[in-house]
Amino acid sequence: MSAFWSTFKRDFALMWSAGGGVVAPLGFFLGAAALVPLAMGPAHDALAAAGPPLLWVAAAFAVLATIERLFQADLEDGSLDQMLLSSAPLELIVLAKGLALWCAIGAPIALAAAPVAIALQASPSLVPAIVVSVALGMGGFVGAGLTGAALTASVKRGSVLIALIVMPFFAPPIIFGSAVASSGFGAAFLLLAGCALAYLVLGTFAAAAALRLQAE
């Protein structure tokens, strides 16, 4: 377990301090969400119907913008070889990186989803459901993103490629999460939770398999 926590602490510290830290993805999310009413027009009813689901798209883009360097930096500076040599399973280390990504980016965006949902005219009674579902959904995005980042770790400037590979798999969390934004805790929320947890587990294993190939 110490390998898990030391990897988590290292990656969390790196994400917190480097490249704008936690403020940059948060600001990206706020900016992207602010573009929605600018595009749709401020009419209250239209915005209330379509606005909150669109914050899911902004959250997905925020993840896509930050995962490119997740494994690429480790591949380049040799940390990946150290991870492969350690006695802890690579899947555990990948999970620790995913957890660090979620803590640095997923959780802050989930919390920021509360004021953003209100700004996009969501009904206040749905806001707790929106926050919890975004937190779960970001976990699912992280799981899918781990696989995409591991597959493209050796490709220079691969952020668009990661987006292309990973976006089809973002579809189910976005579909179910947006349904939560209009219906609260219910069947859609349970489907979202199942989907997110499945992505985390399967994504960890797929990412570890891909990373073993990258290091060869």
Binding site: L151, L164, I165, M167, P168, A206, L213
Partner: protein, 239 residues
């Protein structure tokens, strides 16, 4: 059985005659199937003449799914047994499958405009088919982006196998969700529900698409193997 075809030289001599044979079969089946479907089959009692788009749209959809399943199987065989030609087959099949998926989406849209009154609808079947098309594009992009051939093959194999989850979603989307797209008429429990006068041209077109896929696949695979030989010769010549 697959091990017998792992030898590229044996594959090249087999495909040297099989490719034109499949091409000829495809030509004949299209020559029979297209007039039969587009002119000599009955019009639908509800849709009229627009039903003829079905004979182009449905086989394209079937084969877009089946080709992805083929790629998934080939990727698994390559990933587990390092079968040399399995990876070549997966990479060669991808553009053909992508074109079939795109054809399915476009002809479906053209069919939906007069019959449903809409060019597109975000229901389960259409959305999951669009997702399949994007997965094809992502696979082709990943394979071209990684220069090292063996790494590209193994990482592509992982991506292709991960994408297999979409296939049952596409097939069962018309069962699980209330969709605008009609439910399954042929691959369903209880057998086919389509009239034999329409089933004939539909199956002819389906086999025509299959023969076309076979011919194009073998052509792509031969080109890939020849490209590898050229690269090898160039590297040896430079030494």
């Amino acid at each position: 059985m697959f091990a017998a075809f792992a030898n590229p030289a044996r594959f090249m001599s087999l495909s040297a005659w099989l490719t034109p044979v499949l091409g000829a079969i495809a030509f004949i089946l299209f020559a029979v199937g297209l007039p039969w479907a587009l002119a000599y089959s009955p019009a639908d009692y509800q849709q009229g003449e627009t039903v003829r788009i079905m004979y182009v749209h449905v086989p394209a959809a079937w084969w877009a799914l089946a080709i992805y399943a083929f790629m998934g199987g080939a990727s698994l065989i390559y990933f587990v047994w390092r079968h040399a030609l399995a990876d070549v087959a997966a990479r060669a099949a991808a553009p053909i499958g992508a074109v079939f998926a795109g054809l399915c989406l476009i002809t479906g849209s053209l069919w939906g405009a007069p019959t449903w009154g809409t060019w597109w609808e975000w229901d389960g079947r259409l959305t999951s088919m669009l997702v399949l098309f994007v997965i094809y594009l992502g696979y082709m992009a990943l394979r071209s982006a990684i220069e090292d051939e063996e790494r590209s093959a193994r990482l592509g194999a992982i991506l292709c196998m991960v994408g297999l989850i979409n296939l049952p979603i596409v097939h069962f989307s018309v069962v699980w969700w209330s969709t605008l797209h009609q439910p399954a008429s042929i691959f369903r429990p209880g057998g086919s529900a389509i009239d034999p006068s329409m089933l004939g041209p539909l199956l002819t077109m389906a086999f025509a698409y299959l023969a076309l896929f076979g011919a194009l696949l073998l052509m792509n695979m031969r080109a890939a193997i020849l490209r590898r030989r050229v690269e090898g010769a160039r590297l040896r010549g430079a030494a």
